[in-house]
């Protein structure tokens, strides 16, 4: 029962966070890109629930759900989107790079496919040092056409790395439909070419995702190597905030996917079969809403990074006069 509520809490938090963050970007005229994962919550929630806090995760430009699932503090996330020094990355990364090493979130990544080998590297560390950790790499259908995914799958397979490749197939790479750009119907079938299990799972069903991920995680921990999971899902918003998806897909398609929205569907399941009460869920939703509103307040109260931050964190150790040469000659 508790893990069912955890899944719902996670999905509802992601949905509300995306909604409120999107509104804030517009209302507060924040300069930045935001890629909403609304519609895909069941994948992030289901996979992350199968992980321990010290397991590793790498993510994509659409990474808020993965961060929330992995346990990154929403105050830090919101402040990061606001570009404030109290943000997860001191305001220096933004929505597309949110990370929190304390909970194993190694970072969202703005280059499609680029973070996949990083997860292999984290898994390689776990294997060399015998720590029993696993690493998950989230990516979209678009990334499955990048060479680096295929290289990484091959590497993970020959070295039996404890890594789980999770493809969130939301049917679109920006505006390009996957039935145009991907050469195969089920992307998971590509796993055969790298001698690893390739599972197709309903990405709108958090329990199905959780079960699938749990098996993959235990395979990885047992030393049996990587698994590829393709979660069929859908993003309800455009590619980025401001992109109107109806320019490249029909409203009837959106409507069909919204009929199977994982959040109201799972709520009904919890009430009818999960032993939850309406009051309990209402209270939870109210509390989540309040937490996110408080995260906005937290973000607004946090100052912008000081000017010294411009040249900090480029290196651990580097002569300062070589970082600010251009700046000093401008002044």
């Amino acid at each position: 029962m508790e893990h069912l509520l955890d899944i719902y809490r996670s999905m509802f938090t992601i949905r509300k966070f995306e909604e409120i963050a999107s509104r804030q970007i517009v209302d507060e005229r924040i300069r930045g890109l935001l890629h909403s994962s609304e519609g895909q919550e069941a994948v992030a929630a289901g996979v992350c629930l199968a992980l321990d806090q010290n397991d590793y995760l790498t993510s994509t430009h659409r990474g808020h759900g993965h961060a929330i699932g992995k346990g990154v503090d929403i105050n830090l996330m919101m402040a990061e989107i606001f570009g404030r020094v109290g943000g997860a990355n001191k305001g220096k990364g933004g929505s597309m790079h949110i990370a929190d090493s304390k909970v194993g979130m190694l970072g969202a990544n703005g280059i499609v496919g680029s973070s996949i080998p990083l997860a292999c590297g984290a898994a390689l560390k776990a294997k060399i040092m015998g720590t029993n950790q696993v690493a998950v790499s989230f990516f979209g259908d678009g990334a499955t056409n990048q060479g680096v995914l295929h290289e990484s799958m091959n590497l993970a397979s020959i070295w039996k790395l404890p890594v789980i490749f999770v493809c969130e197939n939301n049917l679109y790479a920006q505006s390009t439909p996957s039935d145009y750009s991907v050469s195969i119907e089920n992307i998971a079938d590509r796993a055969k070419g790298y001698s690893m299990p390739g599972e197709v799972v309903d990405g709108m069903d958090p329990l199905a995702v959780f079960d699938c991920a749990k098996n993959a995680v235990s395979r990885a921990r047992d030393g049996d190597g990587p698994t590829f999971i393709e979660a069929k899902t859908y993003r309800y918003r455009g590619h980025f905030l401001g992109d109107n998806p109806l320019r490249y897909r029909s409203d009837s398609e959106e409507f069909d996917w919204k009929k199977i929205d994982p959040i109201p569907k799972f709520r009904v399941f919890l009430l009818e079969e999960g032993g939850a009460t309406k009051d309990e869920l209402d209270d939870m939703e109210l509390a989540i809403n309040e937490n996110i509103v408080r995260a906005v307040e937290f973000a607004k109260k946090s100052p912008f990074p000081s000017h010294e931050e411009l040249e900090k964190d480029v290196y651990d150790n580097y002569p300062k006069d070589q970082l600010n040469r251009a700046v000093s000659s401008m002044e």
Binding site: A88, N109, S114, G121, S152, Y315, Y318
Partner: protein, 347 residues
Amino acid sequence: MQLDIKTPKSGRLLKYSQAQNEAIKQSMSKDESVFVMGEDIVGAAGRSEQGFSDAWGNSARWTQGLYDLFGPERVLDTPISESAFVGAAIGAASVGMRPVVELMFIDFVGVCMDQILNNAAKTRYMLGGQLGVPLTLITRIGAGVGWGAQHSESIYSLLVHIPGIKVVAPSDAYTAKGLLGSAIMDNDPVVICDHKKLLDLESFVPEADYELPIGKARVSRLGSDLTLVGISHMTNICLEAAEILETFGIDVEVIDLLSLSPIDTDSILKSVSKTGRLVVVDEDNPRCGMASDIISSVVEKGFSLLKQSPKMVTAPHTPVPYSASLEDLYVPNPARVVSTIKDMLED
């Protein structure tokens, strides 16, 4: 142990690649987070049951013997998948390892540039300092051996340009060992550029585990008429040119740059304040390169020190040609350095 950058005049002679081999063994012995991977690092990977082990020890032999000493977990042959294994090294480095990875030739940087540019270089900054990338990337540079346009470049300027990356170019066995030792223990990504023509050259190398400071140049020859800056193998070309110039009564100071990012501009300025003249010899292509970078720094910071316009002797703005007759024109040589300097001084 940190040593000064000098030129030992006695002791034990080692080849450049042997000195690197010693550095990596010492680093792996003292720190279990150090591991090595790359193409043919071991050679005949996994064929020990057939009696094969350490077949290659990598194409430059700096990894020879590591497999038997440290085992398959820490000495990994990779598939020819530069994006995957450089990326994996970055990932491992960000969670506490100190990987030493070989990119066989700097030309291959094109295959995995995304990992270097977008992950190795930017992780610390864009994550607000949460994670660093203590990665050592060893790569080979240099023309003059007939390997053609895709195995001969010295395009380290591409990497020097990237904030977040450090780049060094040792010039002998002593600096090769010390800078490799420092690179491995450095908390930032460090690219080591090894010139093919240096790998078999011997110099005096202490047996102790030592490090040399990254970011410091070495005065390889004292002189008073002109400052000649060399990078990697070009330092040897500069020293040869200096010998020839001495017969013409021209007294040249040679600075061995060693570190390209960060760069020891102070040592160059100090020398120029004495000589008033500057020539930079660089095997890289000329545009947006080290030579133009050094000259612009000296002009910007020390214009009043200069008696004459500085010059650069570099490769042309072309790919590396194959034919020996053309390749010999491509690589800066002592004769070109000598004539450039004589022209300046007779001006």
